[in-house]
Amino acid sequence: MYVGVDVGGTYTDAVLLKNNRVRAMAKIPTRENLLSSLLESIDTILKDADKKEIKRIVFSTTIITNMIAGHKYDQVELLLIPGPGLTHDYYKIKPYVHIISGAVDYRGRVTARLDKQEIDAALSKIAAGGCNKVGVIGKFSPRNTSQEKRVEAIIKEKYPDWQVELGSRVGGKLNFPRRAETTYLTCATRQPYRAFLDSVQQALAEREINADVFILKADGGTLPLKGSEELPVETIFSGPAASTLGVQALTPPGETSVVVDIGGTTTDLALILSGKPLLSAKGARVRDQLTQVRALAVKSVPVGGDSVLELDGNKIIIRSERQGQAYCLGGPVPTPTDALRVLGLTSLGDQDRAAEAMGILGKALGREIKDIAARVIDQVVENISAEIEKMFWEWEQEPAYRVWEVLHKHKEKPRLVVGVGGGAAGFVNKVADRLGCSPYIPQYAAVANAIGAAVARPTMQVSLRADTEQGYYIIQEEGQQEKIKDRNFNERMALDLAKESLIKRAAKYGLEVDPDEIEVASQEVFNMIRDWHTSGRLFDVTVQTPRGITGRVGDGGDIDV
């Protein structure tokens, strides 16, 4: 049996799956204490179950999102080694940034030295400010970790109990500002996150639940609870990922769908293209800054069932805020839910009050109540549909750096519009209509997110970069740099090395990886030509455990739409 829990902003949802069937489900309001919400939902679904049969628990929480939004973390200071390039003023805007000398270039060659005195001075300043959490981030540090490591050693020597995070371990992709941001967040959240994990483990132990426990990440993969300590920010925004995986489990394989989760004041959108959830090309945006956190491409549209409707002249304005429930449910102002009620697209609330709500808008406009309701619905549907079209457009516009990619530009049309979350289902049909798709509301739409968590699989990536001219390779995630001994080092060997490292790394987390199942996420080889001769080769290989879900749930194999 599998358990999936999604501790969301408003509700905490949980399901118990047995043989890919939903055996129990729970939906409770999320309280301020996330742990108690989590445990209550688990207790509810496990009431009649044999705890020994539970193989796996996966949960998704907003813990990191809440920590960051509420600024509930300790002070962090960053030591940046930007070297030449963009002006340093650009980084100094942030008060917690200290710039130090040193530089590494795109090939990983050291082009400027560290300055020990300068580092000591920066550390004294940090210590004087009472901070003991430091991130060290170098430009091009994934290509040569030595300067970051040297700074770490200097810190550890002087301040052995400080927490130090290195950019090269947290963000191995090329993007220095995103790496710095990711390192900052990692540094900030690691301790409180660990405390949260400890209390989860303790609570599960008290309940004599011995299942493997995983946590959902923004990219729709999972990590074992313990392992997620290293990279807490990867668990941010796992809610939309949970819903998307849920839809994947509740629809036929290979389907191209739009996932529409209409909530109170926002509508979350995600895309599943030919059965695969679309990843964001840029990485998650946190605190309005891009990070190196791999995340699904999700979009939040500021419109929902409880959005406030207002008049501006003879235009109806949908405000991105909430003043309580819909008018038909006793709320103070007209909302899109009232419009649905008037047109008989929902059975929520009181028909007369809904009509009254539309009347408030209609009086000023001199229009019939049904007219007004139709106009409101059209406007909401248009807002959502336009954003969906934009997501497809943006996906098609993703830059291409190879002739082959330009000639084989992706283009796909959605077939299904899948409504989840249980809110304002009435809009889903209309959105599907507007986009020329079929609407679909799965049987367990209200807990699709929890189902998504339950079926999520562990994912792990390893990136290798080898530079045969300089004679070394780096496994990015481990920050480990090794000599290349074989003179005939080739692509095959690079790939094998990467796979081997992935298996090793997975084992560290208690995961078993079937070598035949390893996917190559990207692979690049460049010949280096100097004076008309090949002087070396550059290899960049990223391998990963297979993405996807453990199985389809309920009637998710054969819907007829």
Partner: protein, 456 residues
């Protein structure tokens, strides 16, 4: 988006990582690899001042508007060429529509050595990205006056050839003196055809020229000429082989020099040309150009071995540059009263002979170019070409180009020349490029087969 937001700099980065002239050629997959690393690592694409676009393909029709590709357009290009030209066109569109303030097509393959008639690859170029974009702007957006500033170390002889007779396109090229570098042209006396005198300006600089002298040329020659010409659109053929580490050129320009150059020229659109110091120059120079275009602080962009004041010129060197500037300023001042040499006129035509060598493909071409001298319009152009293709039979063709501003008489005359030439057995192919109707015809004389491409 709000109109109050400052406009961004548009960027198309197309390194063509799967395209090369040959595996060890300077124009190979690796060329923009380290540039990619640098701009990605710096997070350039995330900056609020930058908008990255995905390239799209130019149409065959867009190429036929500028070039006579022999025998057909499809025989002279690969998809990579369509993408590079398409990138320049896409950014030009966005600039003219006011979506972005300026742009940089950081693309391969380059194009500024490609001439109007194309028999093969010369100087790593098959088709001329900037010229195709300029002709597109004129046909689609009715933009009249355009300036092209070629800042590659090599003379932009292809662009010069295409706009030689065009009074509305100002072509300025500075480069290393042709006596010391490919393609061996670009001297001060090459000033354009009789109807476009001094709309071609060549500034041959002695090897070893540094940032100082280069910026002197910009301040004292290029900017004043631009101010007089008042272009509606400025294009920069942004070659980066003037860099002090370039393996082909012998100049001493730094990344900082390139940034200042770009800042002063303020081009609407920069298009990458050459530059083959792929590690020591390109990552830094490309950063410089991008930041300068976006109006960002570029003072931190420095090559690892850069030292201020590292390069010095002799006083003689400086004097030589000043003399060239002085000479060209004079030519520019007298641009509207230059006499036509009588010996170059034959009946109604002004004519010149050209010998063109395609270094990459080893093709020798001879051309007789005739400009119809008309009192009512710029006149049409006839090019009689014969190219020696080695083992194959020579390619012979007659190419007729009618400008958009041609008078009815010239258009009718050019049409007659086309029809008559089709009947003679003198050429294997005959072409009529009618820019007035944006229709381009080709004819295979042996197979008696005609084809055409049309605008929208």
């Amino acid at each position: 988006m709000s109109k109050l937001l400052p406009k961004k700099t548009g960027l198309i980065f197309f390194p063509a990582f799967d395209w090369a002239i040959s595996p060890t050629h300077p124009e190979r997959e690796e060329r923009l690899l380290y540039t990619r690393d640098q701009i990605f690592e710096e997070g350039i694409m995330d900056l609020p001042q930058i908008e990255e676009y995905s390239p799209s393909l130019a149409l065959i029709h867009d190429l036929a508007r500028t070039h006579f590709c022999v025998p057909r357009v499809e025989d002279q290009i690969t998809e990579a060429h369509l993408i590079a030209a398409g990138a320049a066109i896409l950014l030009a569109d966005k600039i003219v529509q006011g979506e972005i303030k300026n742009g940089f097509a950081l693309v391969r393959p380059p194009g500024h050595h490609a001439m109007r008639v194309v028999h093969g690859n010369r100087g790593f170029c098959n088709i001329n990205n900037e010229a195709i974009m300029v002709e597109y702007l004129r046909a689609r957006h009715k933009i009249k006056r355009i300036a092209i500033i070629d800042t590659d170390v090599h003379h932009g002889d292809g662009t010069q050839d295409i706009f030689w007779h065009d009074p509305d396109v100002l072509f300025i090229s500075f480069h290393q003196d042709g006596r010391t570098l490919y393609p061996g042209t670009g001297f001060t006396y090459e000033l354009g055809g009789p109807r476009a005198y001094a709309r071609t300006i060549n500034i041959p600089l002695p090897p070893g020229t540094t940032d100082d002298s280069l910026l002197y040329v910009v301040d004292n020659l290029i900017l004043p000429v631009l101010a007089d010409f008042k272009p509606d659109f400025i294009v920069n053929s942004a070659g980066q082989d003037n860099h002090y580490t370039d393996p082909l050129g012998s100049m001493r320009i730094t990344a900082q020099g390139y940034a200042k150059l770009t800042e002063k020229l303020r081009p609407d659109l920069a298009v990458l040309e050459g530059g083959y110091a792929i590690e020591t120059a390109l990552p830094y120079v490309n950063m410089s150009i991008i930041l300068a275009l976006a109006g960002l602080d570029y003072s931190g962009v420095k090559e690892p071995d850069y030292l201020p004041g590292r390069f010095k010129e002799t006083p003689e060197h400086k004097d030589q540059v000043r003399r060239i500037v002085q000479e060209l300023r004079q030519r520019w001042e007298t641009r509207d009263n230059a006499p036509i040499e009588k010996r170059d006129v034959n009946g109604n035509y002004y004519q010149r002979k050209k010998h063109i060598f395609y270094d990459t493909d080893y093709i020798e071409e001879n051309q007789l170019e005739k400009l119809r001298l008309c009192d009512c319009c710029p006149g049409y152009l006839i090019i009689d070409t014969k190219a020696n293709l080695g083992f194959n039979r020579p390619a012979t063709a007659l190419c007729i180009s009618v400008p958009a501003a041609a008078c009815p008489k010239c258009r009718a005359e050019a049409g007659d020349v086309f029809q008559q030439s089709k009947k003679t057995s003198q050429y294997r192919n005959v072409y009529l490029q009618d820019k007035h109707s944006d229709t381009f015809y080709g004819y295979d004389c042996e197979k008696s087969r005609e084809w055409l491409t049309e605008g929208r």
